[in-house]
Symmetry: D2
């Protein structure tokens, strides 16, 4: 059955609003990947699901062997499912899955969806000792960064869960990291993503995964900044420390005349650490605390009011503890902290280059006329394209701004190519008209598509 | 479109298993009620949803004015969504809805479903300051008490949410309390439900709601037991204290030769207290602690390892605090504790009477033959009816026992009426054949239906 | 060396204020007792210390075998030492001693004093694995209930620790319970104390100890009130429920024209539960939660803002867990909850009878004249006795009131005997002049002594 | 009266052991200082007390205006007093003093001592609204680092409290930092201390104080290590990251044939952040979390099992919040995190140089003979000096080793000067005989004195 038909059916048979209907109409993109981390650990299966229409996504970790899990929630706006149960000190491994998701609190549907999928698929059932335990957390990937409110829902999470496979973890703007950003505190607004790293020492395995959607900047081991759309006036080689040291003044150059509003400030880094060594509840909690704390080195600042940072530490228990081992639990913490720093750095995708306006390129009034009209991205965002004096202008007309294209006034779009335009600013903005009646902003992994009403 | 058609469509278009398909095929029963609590408080809307096929259900409280909420989790096996956020000390009212649900951890899907419904319906959106906040908890209503694993899912919770209305709260085996039980610790296994109570003193309003699915017995103010299928050998007028005082011996008479297994032990009481007076975070936490603790009077024992007890305390903030008020926060706690005790007592539904076998009733071999066959309740439970020597016999043949009808041996069904039979025991069991090919166990609010394969 | 000489020496050699000097001058009263609980458990040693001058006191539990301990803090104003360490989930028994003390937060000096005594006495030292661990909590036994601010200090606690012995626990107004009260919420203001109870089932031992200084009333198993100076107008046989049910009105009859001030409201119940069965961290925490919660039956209301309730649960680990034992951890919780209720009830001392004024007794002006003068109880409380018209009058002249004898006006003292007087009221008050220049209020365990300046 | 006389008196009049007597005989050294932080903030008074005989010490912060305080405990072995009260969400400023102390859990006596001093001095009393609130934490400064078990006791803490003054904070090995060490995880074992830093932006004041006794190494902003007795074989310019990256191998070069034992591993960093801006409970908690987490940059690793890290965040509330201020709470967190890093770096004292043996220096048998004998440091440590073949030898003879001078065998002392000797090793060791019958190890701030029995 075609998607359109299903949609029509659902629209008829439900009392859902158009938003719900739109959400139901989306097609999961499963296990998309560019660069990947490959790691040898058969009991950890990873699946990712994305809705390109957001874009947004979810990453599901399915443990083939029930595991022990500890949680360390440190952010000012966390999203969690079943965290109370994790704090009761039980030594019995119960964990089936951890779900990291976009979509802010709406994305918690991803976590409950994996629980029910475990039951629906017969892997777990309703006997108390066999009830599925999926826990998970979310990032805030809405706000000014995209023009719609699509979130990772039950369908997407269950599809990702069912597609989970061992040994491969997509790096960058994939899965839950699809629409992550970093550095908003300093107005860096770099694209971010999900990172992973793996280390094996003898039989000991340590894997770290993180979705870095931090208000802070991602920081390398020499203190330099891994990703930032920099303010033009900044001196070269500014370190994370330099930025912090200048606070609050360092934030001013990047300000566009207004303080950060609530949507821009909302962030979150969610992380998962897995070890194969058997650990007690107290040891696993300690590991969670030590490693989560250590992330303040790779993300600066960290654990602010506007982050909802949560870390899960999991012991699969596949490797028995050895008395007198030279690798003690505190050593594992030290090593894992550096594996996690590697994971943080691996989350950074290649940043899009700023399009350059071509002042020599002259487009005729007729050419420009073809683009004129009102384009709809979602019920929250529309763009009106007009032309005047052989120039193209754009103005947001829906309830919200469209990036640098505000509702307050029409702004000139400068030509980059015959069907590509830009507005020069700190942040890259490419407005492309790929086909009649269609506009794509910033083509690529983070693109936003609009359609002109016929 | 008929349900069957939709189901067929969905079966084709999804990769869901048969369990998921069955779940999707269920029809929400909305706002069913017998006795109700009526209360005058327009900003609290209540909706219930039930699947008769479980039976199981969900109760949604939708606050028309964002409210401040505190959580007190005290049980050994709680289920929670977003509880970490509630513990950060914020004074800003954010709460939209509280969802109490059956279905153990699977039922947490009800809570996330209400969050996303709030967004889908346009009441909330994705701007950080306007993201929906639904929190909720669940009871364990599976195990030996029913023959299937139906749980309150997204569809049911969203339907209940959308049907929420002010001023009416169904009492007893409705909503999340549809399949609740109490007193399992003493093998009482009484049917239980959801209770509510309301008190107004001047302008001050206090409402208490609770789904009592406790391992302990519900206890009246004079110490007597509100509901219990009593062991025949027990002396009359045993109080809750008498039972506790005799522990562990008091439990022995009721034992059927085996200790409680994990499924029988799993319980939970989930509660909600609402006041209209504006309270600070610290005051609301205190209220939650004081009232939740006080529930140990009405439920004995309380907060055990096998309960997942959680209480939410909500201040709608509609009534400003008055300096020097004679009703102080600690007074509110004292009053609310008694309103909650009333709510506990109001949760008890009328218990089914034990069917009495009629030894004079003789059924012919031909009559009995009509009932013979294998009846399926779910993929977990089947019942084989046989006849021998003009007697009817039943034996569970699926993976699990069917109440007193075990997998180990066929047991005689004694006639109550021409198409009704029983097995005398501590717990009522009525086996009714209402129509050819159909069997209903314990007809009524907790009935289980089986069908004979053609 | 005599106490006076030592005091003089200390006064010279220190910069301490007169308050500190007075405190240093007090003589510990060790292991005083009336009724006692006797119990067979050699590894638990109990010592009590009291300062009659308060009166106030401390109770020290010294475990001869390092034990595992869990804490459940539920009151609105707790006092604790090293509670964070107890919540880290360690399974290693570390506990040496638990110290329950009067003196509000000042009494926490008792807990640290026992730690350092363990070291000073060579039982522990400074190697990390052998550092002493004493934890403890306090009750508020100041306020209007006594006329000085003496608190259980280092000297008293160390003396009690060193006098600890197995098998005997004083019941009532001894040790930390010396100046406890209960029922302040309903203006009962009954004298209270420390209670204990013990139960052995086979090899399983359970002991409960509690210092009940509750804002709530102590409640018997039939719901009746164990101790209360009742308002004359109350109907007979008021139950705890009746009082709560009438709130806030039920509090009014007892009001003397003013709301409870901060000092009157401050209370706290601190408790200790000990089992000999080996328990895991999670099991011991659960036991603490279950039993502490259950105390809401015996103390109503419980865990209010003005209580600082804390319970410690200790496993000495002397009895190995048995697989398949009929006494499970949850059973232990049920049993222990009732042992604790017994302990609560055992805390109630005999209440002093109200002195009856003898209207026929006429004292001559000369007799009365002997009592005239200004009596000092402490730097906070003085009483001026005057005579007029062959009647004796009293008025508080220091910074604070002296029970019913206020600073606002002189009140007549009615003769009970030649040297005993009273002011009839809800609460017994006996003013006795035992010797020239001396006054004793309420002679007995709670007496306050004043001296007339020469 | 002379100290000796008082001591004799006390020895007679008490039942204290010799350890307690020795402790009582010590003389507080008050407000000693080398480098200091000077800061303009009259409401914060700081006093330090030290016992040179440990050495060990305490640092008392006395707030002249009751302040709001939040706690963030993150280490695996914390010591705390009254932390439960701090987590109840109250918005009422209650804090009087924060006490940071050496002495492991024994040093908590310092905290309770300051509470009682506040009362004894009449600054607070026993009325509930006016009860003193001192909270505090401790570091572990025993173990192999010193040869006795002296701890900061009631006398020392009260003396430090009474000597507190505004505006001056001693940096390095003073107060609670007197015997701190850092870097034990990598066997650096550098001397450490207490650090402070202050920043003012407009009217906003931020002060950070920390006693760095960390298992991790103190790390500068460029990643280099601030203090370490380095393994000779290490390459130059090893960064904190290099050390961590090599774990567990990087630890091996420094190992002396045995793993760290419990005493060596025990550490702790305790910190205090003060802001003058009025903050809510939630904001102050967030500040504590954000800044404590950020310390993982300056101390690597941080928050391990063998640290007991605790941070207190205090708002004096002297500066009202301004709406729309450009310095938001999250900015304060960013700024404060860097002030805290400055404080960490300021804690490092100048490290003692390694004494160089002078092979040309020949001492006669007669000269050496003068040093021969058995020297007592404490009841835990004695040193036997012998001579043979014109060489001096030392062997520990008490219950514990004396640094590199073990109990297992006599080791040669190589001459540095006529009365100074050394044993070359990774860690400086100077054995000096300053006067007949006296030996001092490592003369200076960390010296240990021994006396030969006559």
């Amino acid at each position: 059955m075609k998607k359109e038909v299903l949609f029509a059916l659902l629209a008829v048979t439900s009392s859902y609003s158009s938003l719900a209907a739109a959400e139901q109409n989306l097609t999961p993109v499963i296990n998309a990947a560019g660069k990947t981390l490959e790691f040898d650990w058969p009991t950890i299966r990873v699946g990712t699901g994305e809705y390109d229409e957001g874009p947004t996504g979810v990453t599901v970790f399915h443990f083939q062997k029930r595991s022990l899990v500890a949680i360390d929630a440190r952010g000012g706006g966390p999203g969690t499912v079943n965290s109370d149960y994790l704090r009761l000190g039980y030594e019995v491994p119960k964990l089936d899955a951890i779900v990291l998701s976009g979509g802010s609190w709406y994305g918690l549907e991803s976590t409950t969806a994996v629980s029910t999928a475990l039951k629906d698929d017969g892997l777990r059932d309703a006997r108390w000792g066999n009830v599925a335990l999926a826990v998970g957390s979310i990032i805030y990937d809405f706000g000014e960064r995209r023009l719609n409110e699509v979130y990772p829902d039950k369908k997407l999470a269950q599809a990702a869960f069912r597609a989970a496979r061992p040994g491969v973890f997509p790096l960058g703007a994939y899965g839950a990291g699809r629409m992550a950003k970093s550095g908003g505190y300093f107005n860096c607004n770099a694209h971010s993503g999900q990172g992973g790293a793996f280390k094996q020492i003898g039989e000991l395995k340590i894997a770290a995964f993180t979705v870095v959607n931090a208000m802070g900047v991602i920081t390398k081991r020499d203190g330099s900044i891994a990703a930032c759309f920099r303010e033009a006036s900044w001196p070269k080689n500014l370190s994370a420390f330099d930025l912090a040291d200048g606070t609050p003044d360092s934030r001013k150059p990047g300000w566009t005349g207004h303080a950060l509003d609530e949507d821009q400030r909302a962030n979150t880094t969610i992380s998962l650490l897995v070890v194969n060594q058997k650990m007690s509840y107290a040891e696993l909690n300690r590991l969670a605390v030590q490693v989560h704390t250590s992330m303040a080195r790779g993300i600066q600042p960290f654990a602010t009011e506007f982050d909802g940072d949560v870390l899960y530490a999991v012991s699969t228990g596949e490797l028995e503890k050895k008395e007198g081992s030279t690798v003690t639990p505190v050593d594992i913490g030290v090593i894992a902290a550096d594996v996690m720093w590697d994971a943080i750095l691996a989350s950074v995708p290649e940043q899009p280059a700023a399009p350059k306006a071509n002042p020599r390129l002259k487009l005729s009034a007729r050419e420009l006329e073809r683009y004129v009209g009102e384009y709809t991205f979602s019920e929250f965002a529309r763009l009106r394209i007009t032309t005047r004096d052989n120039k193209l202008f754009a103005q947001a007309t829906g309830p919200r701004d469209v990036f640098a294209l505000k509702r307050t006034a029409a702004i000139e779009l400068q030509p980059v190519a015959r069907n590509e335009f830009t507005v020069p600013s700190r942040y890259p903005l490419l407005v492309k008209f790929p086909a009649p009646g269609q506009v794509i902003l910033n083509p690529g992994r983070w693109q936003q598509s609009g359609h002109r009403a016929p």
